[in-house]
Amino acid sequence: MKIKDRALPEATNIYPTGFAQSYQHLHPFLVLALGSWYFNDIVANPIKGLSTALVWLAVLQIAYCVTCLPPYGTGKVVVEKKKPGEKEKKRSSQVATKIFTGLVALIMSLIVSLVVAATLVLFGAPMTTHHWETLLCAGHMSLLATLPLVYVRGVEGQTWQEAVALLLPVDDVYGGMIGTFVGAWLGAVPVPLDWDRAWQRWPVTIVTGAYVGYAIGKSIGATWGKGGKIVFV
């Protein structure tokens, strides 16, 4: 089963409407704002803070998907003029599809978060303690990384293999995913330092790294990284 044998999908395009175009650049800042808004809560009480933030992150991510991204199955964003009467009708059914797809993506990404949690444990997350912290951390990472990806790419096995193998073309969504995981990995670096700060507790730095990584990855994916391939030399 060689992955390369298949023609790879193309990079996702954002809806060309003015609102979608501007919102997509605003979105990473909103995500960061959400993270910083709840930062102190998360530090004070990780489980409570992360749970609350998770709900808002889900809302934010679905809003982003619905606003900017073509849901799975609609193919490329086709810009075509419709007759005035048709447009209204189509639009409302489209919105319903989008929200439905978004909800499916949410459920899928919450399932995927279990895999992410397992990966976190493989990377050294505590195994016998802090279960909720690790799960919620994985939930955040999964909502950042996989929710939009499920929304645009669906749940086809091969696409996911390509996603893991870093073979998909870089775009907003994929850049965000890579950024989330790299950021979370880098987020582990300050933990052993002897600064004795409250924010060094598990999993604050990981979540922070994921948020920052997501924002950077998404922005890069949306701009000069767009359409590029990740090359392993």
């Binding site: 089963m1 992955i3 990377f123 050294g124």
Partner: protein
Amino acid sequence: MARQTLLLAVANLLIPIAILVFATGFFPYKPFMTGLATYENPGWENIFKWKKQPEPKFDKLVFMVVDALRSDFVYGEDSGMKFVQSLIRDGSAIPFTAHATSPTITMPRVKAMTTGSIPSFLDVILNFAESDTSSTLATQDTWLAQLKAKEGGKLVMYGDDTWLKLFPDFFTRADGTSSFFVSDFTEVDNNVTRHVSSELLNSDWNAMILHYLGLDHIGHKAGPRSPNMIPKQIEMDGMVEQIYSAIENEDHLENTLFVLCGDHGMNDGGNHGGSAPGETSPALVFISPKIKKITEAIAKESPTKPKGEFEYYKKIEQSDIAPTLAGLMGFPVPRNNLGVFIEDFLYFWDDGIDRIQLLLRNAKQIKTIVEATYPSLGFSDEVKELDCDKSLSSGERLACKWQNVVQSMSTVATLHPQTRVNFLFSFLRDAQDTMSSTASNYDVSRLFLGTFLAFLSFGLTFLTLPKLRRISSAAIAYTLTLSLYGILMFASSYVEEEHNFWYWATSGWFFYLFISESRKQWFPKFIFHPAIMLLLLHRIIRRWNQTGQKYAGAPDIVHSVVIRGPHSIILWFLVGATYTDIMFRLSRHVARSVSTFEHGNTRDNVDLESTDINGIMGKMAILPLTVTAFLFKLAFTARDAPELTQGFNDGLLYGLGTLSLVSVAQMVFAGICLIGSWQIYAENRRSKARKRGAGSGDLAVALFDLLALFLITQTKAENIPLFLYFRCQLFFLTHIDLSPTAIALTTILLAQTSFFALGNSNAISSISLSNSYNGISGYSLPAVALLLFASNWAGPIFFSSAGVLLLGSHGREQRFVNKEELDARDWIAEEREHLMKQATKESEGRERRKGATDVWRGHIALLTLGVSAGLVAVMAACMVLREHLFIWTVFSPKFLFAGAWGTFFHLGVSIAWGSALWAAGKL
């Protein structure tokens, strides 16, 4: 080509030179004043009209050191030293916690106690290189020298021979015991005790030194909670009682001061050397019936609870012992002393003038040292104006405090003696603090030179690398790892918790391998992908032992109930599996070599499979060796850590208990050497018999498996399962397509990871001595050093050698593997060939092995680059941060470890042993 080899050789030669040059600048011999102190005029005669010296209170000294006697061993509620506690309650003993500065190992501590100075860090090395005599205190001023110089002064010493080395020809009678033979709990102490009762009847000595080692040995072997610990404390308590009753009853011992103290403490693991509270808090008790005079006003509760972790009663510095003894026994304070007379003892003298004189002598002696450090500041005895209100440097502050002393001494007004005493103490304590923490006088130019040489080595190695036509991902990962490591070496907490970096980087690298492999070919059951299995094993390995400083006591697998107590059978199942695996591997090698001789005549068949008969012969040859090795480990553990052998039949353990561990270990080592020689002989023969073509490098694999057996013999039982996991990791690594750069990076990452996973850290105290004497009946520096190194670096040695096998794909066409596995392997091999041809147009793994020295040189170059980069970072960190608070506790030990990695590990194992293995693989 020759030029590159030459450059690489020079670069590697530079490594030990750089370390040496840096070390001489970093650990200079502290200049000390020679000659014995004499009573000098204390000054201010017209005011005080000193009559004479304050009258000494004691004329004899019994100085009993119990090695590693941590404060709670004497004062705590669980202590076995009930007699000492009764003396404390009674007031005949005055207890302290004597703060020992890092390095907390015996020789520097003895120096501190006897000279009152703070010994240099160099003594760590000298302590290990016991034969060294350059660290002798013969020419320094100590209380031993002072007591010996007294009229009729005679010294006797029984116990740790460190004293004999430090004080050659000092003792009239002495019996030394080697302090490195840690597996012995009783003989070392009996060797001291048997002299005590007769010596107590002699009246010719004025100081008797006893140094008991058993307690320290128990700590090293099994930690402070060992079942042997309380009985040993009771035994020591009995010695105290014997000596104390002699002091009470014998007339000639009437004025004897009895000091009981530890030279250092121990941490939770029973080791010492670092600066954890347990290690720096030994007990110190002054005992004499006469002490009741000064203990009237002191709380005498005992046993008691500590203030901090181990701080019982009043905390003093270990160096305070020297001036206190000087005052109590009536001799001048040793010249290099930085200790302060212990305040409680002042009340032996009723006259305030005597108290002032004692402290003034102490202060004037320390002032001489302070003056030498700050020559430009005024430390004369004249009253003068100093501006002491501005913000002061430490030297100026001392000058102000000295001026306070001068003014209070010079005034003719009637002052309460306590006022002057307070001024004197204020100066003394500040001087002690300042002078102890003042960074020693580094030779900065040498530090620069050493760092520069390491950098030069780095640069030269870089030049030998092939031209960077195309940068590979592995090269990027390699560069990032080294760069980040270099940066982190400047953070003290990352030096202490260095394992976290390697664990983190290794997980990332394995996951990268998973992605990189998945890009070529999606593994259907991706959860069982070799790289994911590597990651899983890595996760178990890193949790096996907690290490570092901060979380050293956090839960880990070794200390969990999973393998302890009633479940120790699980541990022994894993240990058994490790031995069985090695046994099968070795028997295959022997079987092959036997078949070589059978097929000797038919020349083309030298590489043919061996028969079942050969297989049985191989097992018969190897079984005794591995069984002996296993039984050795079991017997060793039964004595060393009996809580790990609970599940075993008592009769078996009793039988094992009667074995002589030394000779069993010798049998194992001899067996390994024998099989090794046989393999070399047989493979040589096979190689010669081969008409054409090449072997598959089986000799290298055989030597590697023998090495693994040696390494697990040198490993504590609870860590042996780690070698099973290492072996699995190696197995999965062979299933991943790795470029030479990737192999070098994997080798570095796994060598470091396995070092820390075995429980080591960058603290001197984490060095484990328990396996350094396997098979050795007497002290022999080279043999002990080799075993010590092999037992602490077992993991890195394993992976360094494994890297050689990975690089050359040695022994890939092995016989006796089951068919399915063989197919899978061939399939991988085809894939490898295919990819290699595609990617580099070069030939595959075998060609690497057979071909020119290029591949091997490239591998060494990458390893050298890693070592020299690490050295540059560590040296630069030590140089830049030389005034840092943690320089002696964190960075200096790290430098010593970096030195060991750079010389013993890199030059000795990676290059010398690795090249031998590589050459063996060519047969």
